[in-house]
């Protein structure tokens, strides 16, 4: 990245990437540590099918969300790359 415009572009690209990453990690934390462990007793008041919701998040739900998070990340990163003209 020798030229100045390239540097500015890289900076803007990185800023967008970090913002996206933080947002997704908040969700990652919420569904696993939040729903599955810390808030589980409160969530257990509700049931999904025959399973208490907090318990379900700990054993099933969090995993489904993890998969969705990574694919959303791929999709969003491609959009960021297009916006800043980066080729990945």
């Amino acid at each position: 990245m020798a030229d100045e415009s390239g540097k500015a572009r890289a900076k803007a690209y990185w800023k967008d990437t970090v913002r996206l990453t933080i947002g997704l990690l908040v969700i990652w934390f919420t569904v696993s540590y939040g729903a599955g462990i810390l808030l589980r007793d409160w969530l257990d008041q509700v049931s999904i099918g025959g399973a208490p919701l907090g318990f379900w998040f700990a054993q099933q739900g969090s995993i489904y969300v993890f998969v969705a998070l990574i694919f959303y990340y791929c999709f969003a990163m491609r959009r960021i790359e297009k916006k800043h003209g980066v080729e990945a």
Binding site: W14, G36, G49, G50, A51, I63, A88
Partner: protein, 593 residues
């Protein structure tokens, strides 16, 4: 020896060797990273097999069956790590574009010392992990094929030798794909039948939250009630504290993200973007097993209680058929045939404490005051499932082949880390810097062969000591506390320097090792744990300590050279990577074509 077991084991092993011969590696590039051109989905599948070990396949569902809600730490911990890997590490390390994890540490921190410490971390983590895999191979062979334990390990070593030494990462990748197919089929087929029997729903994930078949009550509620009546804790509760659950889950997640044998899989795809997609696929393939496992655990627990508890024992010297008919005529329930089949393996044991000939399965505080008489091993739940579900004999053979596939694929991935750490990081980059590519490939093969041998010996040796299960806690804790912080800070903080990295790795390695060693081998009283955090979860706590020490030391010492800052900025933005620094100049990755 069972025909079908032999058939599946021989067929799958033949397949693995065939792939190994087809995928021979011709250069170091092919040997270490399969030439960087593995398709993301294929790599995802290989990563899934690489990651899911004998423990995931054989032990995890059983662990959950016993621990109930407490088993969630494994489910979340061993999947959530892939989110960290995809978002924080994999694409950037791929963009960095070298062969190994110590490669990144050594070049990013412009230091041979840092490289060597990273090699020590990688070797330590990989060897503890591989001992367990080899032990699993030995157990599978001795339990199912009647081969002595040591010979079982030797057979496993020969197979791994073939595709790891000949094919390197290229051979390992394609055998792992085949092994994934074998293991996932072997895991899900019995699960579907179990689900049909217990809930009437063919999808285990739905059966898990559904009703118990024909009883109008939720399967999990039924399980809770049954366990309560027998004096066990409720399935959806745990005696673990919240802080311990939190720390164990986190240590497993960050440990997963820092495990070298998982990270190097993402070096085999062609770009940073491909590494991201590949991590997604890896988690899809893993999630198929990981969302099925809790269902299998719950079904197996119900089924075990239904069929074994209060059944009348039939001794080996009695004729099973006639005695069973007699018991049924008296209105009793005979011990199931699968129980008798598995009793010989030592995975199940019955001690008739009250001398009534009936098998009472009870928890620690049973309301009726009867002492427990039946002790099942956690591995039995996956192994006996096909018979519990009355599946044809060939399914059992398939499960054995699946267990071996899970153990061998993980062992091969670990061997690649060990051999590349020795041949590439120690020999080529540290000691003999003027080695040619051809020499390095030869050394890589020799060290892979040496690693196979060490792993086998370790498997035989450690099983006699019987501490493998405990030692696995080391691998995750150490990966989380020693490798994760330096890789993460190396990408996300340009100011991180050599001094900080060395301080962080040494802090993470020594504190975590010390804590685990102390509370696993010296003082085993859980009441003395610091803040109530078990040795399994302590890696998470010391990870923060290591990072804090690293940042403090980095701020107190000189900033890294300008060249290195530019290197970090380059790997953040795909497609802008050029050579930086002395170590990078002659070994920078080739421009993408």
């Amino acid at each position: 020896m069972d025909f079908w077991t032999l058939f599946f084991v021989v067929t799958t092993f033949g397949l693995y060797i065939g792939i190994a011969i087809w995928a021979r590696a011709g250069s170091t590039d092919e040997f270490y990273v399969a030439g960087h051109h593995v398709h993301p989905t294929v790599n995802g599948m290989a990563t899934a097999a690489d990651w899911m070990s004998a423990a995931s396949f054989l032990s995890m569902a059983g662990l959950i069956a016993f621990m109930g809600y407490g088993g969630s730490v494994y489910l979340m911990g061993w999947t959530g790590g892939f989110v960290l890997l995809a978002l924080l590490l994999a694409p950037f390390l791929r963009e960095f574009g070298k062969f190994t994890v110590p490669d990144f540490v050594g070049d990013r921190y412009y230091s041979t010392t840092a490289r060597v410490i990273a090699v020590i971390c990688a070797l330590f983590v990989s060897f503890t992990y591989i001992a367990g895999q080899m032990k699993g191979v030995g157990v599978a062979f001795s339990g199912f094929l009647g081969v002595p334990f040591e010979w079982g390990i030797v057979i496993g070593m020969v197979i791994v030798f073939f595709y790891a030494v000949l094919g390197g990462m290229k051979g390992v990748t394609y055998t792992q794909v085949a092994q994934y197919c074998v293991l996932i089929f072997a895991f899900t087929v019995p699960a579907i039948f179990m689900s049909l029997i217990i809930t009437g729903n063919p999808v285990p994930q739905l059966g898990f939250i559904g009703e118990a078949k024909g009883e109008g009550v939720a399967m999990l509620t039924k399980l809770n009630n049954v366990l309560n009546d027998l004096g066990f804790g409720e399935y959806t509760q745990t005696d673990k504290s919240k802080i311990d659950m939190f720390c164990i889950t986190a240590a497993l997640m960050f440990g997963t993200a820092g495990l070298p044998h998982v990270i190097i899989r993402f070096f085999t795809v062609k770009s940073a973007g491909a590494a991201r997609v590949s991590a997604g696929w890896a988690l899809v393939f893993i999630a198929i097993l990981y969302t099925t496992a809790p269902a299998v655990g719950a079904f197996a627990r119900i089924n075990f209680i239904d069929t074994v508890n209060e059944s009348t024992y039939i001794a080996d010297e009695e004729d099973y058929e006639s005695r069973a008919a007699e018991i049924e005529a008296d209105g009793g329930k005979p011990v199931p045939t699968w129980y008798k089949d598995w009793e010989a393996t030592g995975l199940l044991s019955f001690e008739d404490r009250n001398g009534d000939g009936i098998m009472q399965y009870r928890g620690p505080d049973a309301p009726d005051g009867i002492a427990n008489e039946v002790t099942p091993d956690r591995d039995i739940f996956v192994l006996a499932n096909p018979q519990i579900a009355n599946l044809p004999g060939w399914v059992i053979g398939l499960v054995v082949a699946g267990g071996l596939a899970a153990a061998l694929s993980t062992a091969a991935g670990l061997l690649m880390v060990i051999s590349s750490a020795v041949s590439h990081d120690l020999c080529r980059r540290t000691i003999f810097r003027d080695m040619t590519d051809k020499d390095e490939l030869r050394v890589a093969r020799i060290s892979a062969a040496g690693a196979v041998l060490c792993a086998g010996l370790l498997g035989i040796f450690s099983s006699q000591l019987g501490f493998v299960a405990q030692v696995v806690a080391f691998a995750f804790g150490l990966a989380a506390a020693s490798l994760f912080p330096v890789i993460f800070l190396g990408i996300f903080w340009t100011r991180m320097n050599k001094e900080g990295a060395i301080a962080a790795m040494v802090t993470g390695l020594t504190t975590t090792f010390g804590y685990i060693y102390w509370f696993k081998f010296v003082d085993t009283n859980p009441a003395h744990w610091v803040f109530g955090v078990s040795p399994e979860g302590i890696g998470f706590v010391f990870m923060w300590l290591a990072a804090a020490v690293g940042v403090a030391v980095a701020l107190a010492t000189k900033a890294p050279p300008e060249d290195i800052r530019e290197l970090v900025e380059d790997i953040r933005v795909p497609g802008s990577r050029i050579a930086h620094g002395a170590g990078d100049r002659d070994m920078a990755p080739l421009p993408r074509d």
